[in-house]
Structure formats: C-alpha cells, structure tokens
C-alpha cells in the first residue's frame, strides 16, 4: 500500500512537468503579446516594452523562462502580474477559498441529487420516472450552461426574487446556492446517467439473483448489494470532478459575479497574463492528480478484489 502510493506519486512527476510545460508553451508560444497589450489601442513605446520584458525575463528563450518559472514555483513564488505587478500567489490564495466553497457545494449537490436520481431511474428501468430522469439529464447536457445560468438568474433572482441575482458576499451560503446549483448541474446529469447505466448493468448480475433468492427485502438488495457495486465507476467521476469544479467555474462565476478562480482565469486569459494562467493550472493539476490518487485508493475500499502491490 505504502509502496503503491509512493510509486503513484513518482508517476505523477512526469505528468505534472508535462502538463505545466504544455500550458506554459500554449500560453507563451502562441501569437499575441501581453506587454504590448498594456498600451491598449495606443501604439506601444518599443523601448519601454523591451525594458519590461527584460525586467521580467520575458526576453529569454522559452525553455529558460520555464525553468525560471518552475524554480520560483518551488520557492512559493508564482511571479507577479504584468498589469498591476501584484504577486500572483496573493491573487490565487484570495480566489481559491471562494471557489472551493462554491465547488464543495456544487459537488455535494452532484453527489446527493445525482446518485439519488440515477438509482431511482436505474431501479425503475423503463418506467415513467426513468424516462423523466433520462430526459432531464439529456436536456441539461444539451443546453449550454450559460443559458441555464442566465435563465435561473433571471427567473429566481430578478423575477421571483427568491435569491440575490448576483453574489455580494462570497461567504454567504445562501447567496452561493444558485451559482452552486448551476455549476453542479452538468456534473449532476453525468452522475445520474452513470449511476443509472451502472445500476442497470448490475441488476441482472448473478449475485443480485442470489440476494433475491435469499429472501432479502428489496430495499436491502438495492442499498447493500446493488448500490455498492454500481457506485464504483461513479466514484471515479466524482473524484476527478472535485478539481474540475474548483477551477473551472468561469461561466458561473462570471454570471453571478463571484470573484473566484474562474474569474481570475478569465481575466488572465483576456489580458494574456501567462503567469496567472500557468499558476492556476499548476495548482489545479496538483488537485487533479491528488484527487485521482484518492480515487484509486478509494477503489480498494469499495472493491476488495483490487489489491495494490
């Protein structure tokens, strides 16, 4: 077990380096210039541009820039923003707790509602409730999420007045409810679909037939025998989704004016602040890698047939 974890952690190193390098290259090798962008529509002063670039090491070859960047990273230095010259680490540490809170709410929502809907649909296969749930999940996946976001904001925020249309206080559980619902909506649909398929596949398994032959009540068959086996693929999804929800709420955070990581990313991309994007992605990759390790370990708990050597 310990050895397995150690090996997995070692395997993560090349992936971590590869991913950060890839995003670094994507940010820096593509056309466009963040320094010139400081001047907006006005013609930039070439001398000043060169000076800023030199100060930031932006005139070095890309690989050297990457090495510098990684070196700084290990010392906790994420670099400074080009516009405003603020430490990026400060911006990230400010934004992360907000996104984390939002993500935790959305994730809980996915888990509870998604699994419940999936189980109901899977157990009552072919009935009206199954069709309804399936249809609902399909709609959620097919409609762009910003349409839902704007629609819910309009209906629940502006028209009905149940909630504030935008988030004023990012610590307020109540205000984060609607954004979290929108953020978790697609994940919820996938969790429900996954659970349903898994339940459907498992319910014709031999051990379910045995459980019926044992004279167990239906509830027990579902909760003890069917669910446990069916949740294994769902756990994988939910695990990798933790990171996804945390970093990726660009749309939701934009619509509801939440100043989290997603907003930071959006600003970073539109201002071509490479260091901001790479910094956030670095943190997200770490979260993602750790989450998938956690999922693997959870597998062994759920399925005793899996042994880690």
């Amino acid at each position: 077990m310990g050895r397995y974890v150690a090996r997995r952690l070692l395997q993560m190193i090349p992936v971590f380096i590869g991913t950060t390098l890839l995003i670094f290259l994507m940010v820096n090798a593509l056309p466009g210039d963040p320094v010139k962008a400081l001047w907006g529509d006005k013609p930039p002063d070439p001398a000043q541009v060169a000076q800023i670039k030199h100060d930031r090491g932006l005139d070095l070859p890309l690989w050297e820039q990457y090495l510098h960047y990684m070196k700084g990273l290990f010392q906790g230095d994420f670099g400074n923003t080009i516009a405003g010259n603020r430490p990026i680490l400060d911006e990230i540490t400010q934004a992360f707790p907000v996104s984390m809170r939002l993500a935790a709410m959305a994730w809980t929502f996915e888990l509870v509602v998604g699994i419940t809907l999936g189980v109901i649909a899977g157990v009552r296969r072919g009935r009206i409730i199954d069709t309804t749930v399936t249809f609902f999940t399909l709609i959620v996946i097919s409609v762009p999420i910003f349409v839902f976001g704007l629609g819910f904001q309009l209906i629940f925020g502006n028209e009905l007045g149940w909630v504030k249309p935008t988030v004023q206080d990012s610590e307020s559980f109540q205000q984060l409810m609607l954004p979290a619902l929108v953020l978790g909506l697609v994940g919820l649909a996938y969790v429900a679909r996954l659970t349903r398929t898994s339940i459907k596949e498992n319910r014709s398994a031999d051990y379910i037939r045995t459980a019926v032959a044992k004279g167990l009540p239906r509830r027990r068959i579902i909760s003890r025998h069917l669910l446990r086996n069916s949740l294994i693929p769902v756990v994988t999804y939910l695990g990798t989704d933790i990171g996804a929800l945390m970093g990726g709420a660009v749309i939701t955070e934009g619509i509801f004016n939440v100043s989290g990581v997603g907003n930071l990313l959006y600003l970073g991309i539109s201002r071509r602040e490479g260091a901001v994007i790479v910094g956030i992605v670095t943190v997200l990759v770490i979260v993602y890698l750790l989450a998938s390790l956690l999922v693997d370990l959870l597998y062994a708990v759920l399925d005793p047939r899996i042994r880690y050597a």
């Binding site: 890839l22 309009l154 994988t236 929800l245 990726g248 993602y288």
Partner: protein, 318 residues
Amino acid sequence: MPDLMKSPAADEPEVALAPPSGKAAEAGEVGGARSLWGDAWRDLRRRPLFVISGLLILLVLLVSAFPGLFTSADPGSGDLTNNFLGSPQLGHFFQDDWFGYDRQGRSIYARVVFGARNSVMVGLGVTLLVTVFGGLVGMLAGYFGGFWDSLLSRITDVFFGIPFLLGAMVVLNAFTDRDVWVITGALAFLGWTQIARVMRGAVITTKHADYVMAAKALGAGTKRILFRHVLPNAVAPVIVVATIALGTYIVAESTLSYLGLGFASDAVSWGADISDATQDIRNNPHTLIFPAGMLSITVLAFIMLGDAVREALDPKLR
C-alpha cells in the same frame, strides 16, 4: 459546459470505468463483430429514440449543406425597422418572420438556418480529428503495451490534465480571425485524450480475446491482426463515445462564443447568436430561445443516437 476542467463527455461511463488497475479492460467488452453489429442494427431499427434522433440528424445535416433550400432571407443583413419586430409568428411556417427578428432586424429563422453549418462543422470536424488521432494513439498504446503504452499513456495524461475549455480558451485567445478550422483545431488539440483512453481499454480487452489468440497461433501478421481482428471489435465503444462527444463539442463552441472566443463576430453561428441574445434575454427572450433550442435539439439528437447505439451494443442493457 460549466466547468473549464471538464472535457466534454469525458465523463461518459466508458471513460469513467477506465482509469485504475486494468479495469479499463472491462469497459468495452465486445463480442464477435459481424453478429454484434447485425444484432445491434436489428435492435436499433425498432428503437423510437434511434429513429427520431437519426431523422433529426439527417435534417440538420441537410440544413447545414443546403441552407438556401429552407429560406430565401439573408441572415447577414437586417432591416433595422424590423428591430425586435413582432414576437415570433409561429403560424408563418418557413417564412422570414417565423421566429421573429433580432436587435438588428435580421430574421432569426434565417440565422438559425444559416448558423447550422458552422456548429455542425465544428462538431463533425472535431469528432473526426479526435477519433482518428485519439483512436490511433489508443490503439498503439493498447496493442503494443510495455514501453509504448507507458509513453503514450503519460502523454495522454498530460493533455488530460489540462482543463478542456480552459485550454481551448488559451489557444483561441491567440487568434483574432477565428474560423471553423481554428476552432476545430483548438478543440481537437485538447479533446483527443478521451477517445484515446476508451480505445486503449477496448483494444486491451480485445487483444486477449480467444479469436485474436487463435489468429496469432495461425501465424497472422501484426498488421493483419490489428486491422482485421482487433480494430473492428474495439471500435464499438469508440463510436458510442464519439457520437455523444460530437454533441458536447457543439455545446463547447457555443460556450466559447459566449466568452467571446468563438467565431469572429461577422460569422453566422448558433453560438454567436445565443451569446448575442443573452443581452436581450429579459425583454426579447425569443432571440435566445430559437437558436438555443435548435442547438440543444441537435446536441440532444447526437447524444440520444450514442445512447441508443450503446444500449444496442451492450446486451446487459437491453
């Protein structure tokens, strides 16, 4: 796509089953090819879901190919006197004012018709690219195993680690004149990992099947085994995932448009129209409803098609 991290449909069952401990092998269990597809086809023809989604897709393809057949109005120029004029005239089938007019007085019906092509091309193009490239990577990794598997799988992991939409945003932000090719390329660049993983799992399962062993024992060469025996049997789960993913790529394009990173502003596309319409959602919801509805129906059709094929191919789900 609410979340930048999520690669569209990365979360379909096949994939979710994949990651740890050779479980991937179970993901795409497939029996004999010909009888399997024959059975599936007989099963599919009787599924209303399949028939409806198939017909819808054919219709959308027809509209994309020959928009002129469906409307004579010009989607690009509007008469400003028609600005938001009149709510949709739902009785006026196929006429310019069927879906009403937008802010600039352009016929929404004409825009919906002419916008289909860009969205559909992005969907088809990305799917084609990721299926060919991801399929190739997955097949090589799965079939040859060992060093090649480790290498290709790590590369796949690297790309998988980059949040799909976030990556697409970074790439697209670098281009000012974003057309079908740029958008397709950007999405495919980040989206191929999903197919690669599914293909790898399916190939590993098939590789150990008795009939492949038998072919080997009879002295068939690698190429023959790969293309005659392994590929036809491993391709089923890939087709399912690709069909569903096609829909989600279309959604991704519209989301990018909403963020201002989709098609250039003079292009006619559903995504651009939907994000345009979000400004008028309050007073003129019809400007949003029609393009969003068309896009959603198209996406829905592809996902339903994928679902139907999946169920037809998997006897456990029948």
